[in-house]
Symmetry: C3
């Protein structure tokens, strides 16, 4: 089976849209797609509500300044135009980022949260959405070595 491996490092709205559109397109063509969420990409996996977990002050502060879930993601450029872009997308009937993520998972795209990044970003499993896999770099290399498409987004 044709495999594809995407690293989603950036949690930016536009780059995450691109990643999901590629993943869903590949899954629709029958490919086995894995997305590895690392660093800022983990923000896409956060639950939209604040989750009470015990953590050091620095990690708490850091977490409070990063977007919680796809709804809070911003454009990588012209950040101020994020709302405008989202409105345009709605008018053009482009699926929302959150819906694209749900579609991806419904189509069998595997979401892996990078455990090392979680540690460094101070994120706990309770703060992320359900149904994720958790793994490290070895899992990524294993999957990517067998993949036709490997992207760092």
């Amino acid at each position: 089976m044709t495999k594809n491996a995407i690293i989603l490092f950036s949690g930016d709205f536009d780059k995450s849209m691109a990643a999901m559109i590629i993943a869903n397109g590949a899954a629709a063509m029958g490919n086995e797609v894995t997305i590895f969420f690392t660093f800022w990409g983990l923000n896409l996996l956060r639950k939209p509500e604040k989750v009470n977990v015990k953590k050091p002050f620095m990690e708490k502060m850091f977490g409070s300044m990063m977007p919680r879930g796809p709804g809070e993601a911003k454009l990588s450029k012209m950040t101020w135009a994020t709302g405008m872009m989202k409105k345009t997308m709605k008018k053009k009937n482009v699926m929302e980022l959150q819906a694209l993520m749900e579609q991806a998972r419904a189509m069998g795209v595997r979401f892996i949260a990078c455990t090392m990044s979680m540690d460094v970003m101070g994120m706990r499993k309770e703060e992320l959405i359900d149904g994720l896999d958790y793994a490290g770099v070895a899992t990524y290399i294993g999957a990517a070595d067998e993949s036709t498409i490997t992207l760092f987004i």
Copy 2:
């Protein structure tokens, strides 16, 4: 034939230079190279002059704030140094971005404008340079699945 598939998501001057240098290098070695221009990457394909097309106010405004063609592209970092960098490149006899794009096409590199991105960015075919292919994500997946090199730039 060895194939390479590049997604040019960023329209930044430095990243676009890198994409074109890779594409031209690969084409010179006999590879079949395809570049998919998505999101900000589409700005590279815009004609330098303003084209009169009817579109909603928001799309017009958005379009007016983005660079028209390679001549207006800026560095991804230290934006203010773009002119300085271009001067240095000229002195070192590095081909200009515009010339690299022309060379790429002369060498058979296929330029594909992502139609979904065009829709979202409010860009019409009349505003883009001639001789492009237009396609969506399925075309990209098809090409990339057969490619040795797949990059997201």
Copy 3:
């Protein structure tokens, strides 16, 4: 032997960490890994001290505004939080960027400095760390065409 080819275009702290973690993970699994340092990525290869070389004023100024080595690299987002992130990493016993780079080379990861980028960024061999390879785009294409994983970071 399974080969992997990474272009490190960005010299940002977080992206460079990701590149090194991937490279070291792949090397640990027995892969032959090559990293091509281009544009801002070259900053990671600079010696931390100022090296006296004769160069035009513009190149000197440009050089003085860019980070010298991994110790001066900054986050790609929330730049102000770089120190905080480094402290968190230390507390979690994540290897430092400099140490990851040394580990990579000890494990046989090949570091190639892109000569064209060096020319454009005004960098001389004397300013970069020892033991590097120097090559251009053809070397990259040759290695990447034979690689299972190709990333642009």
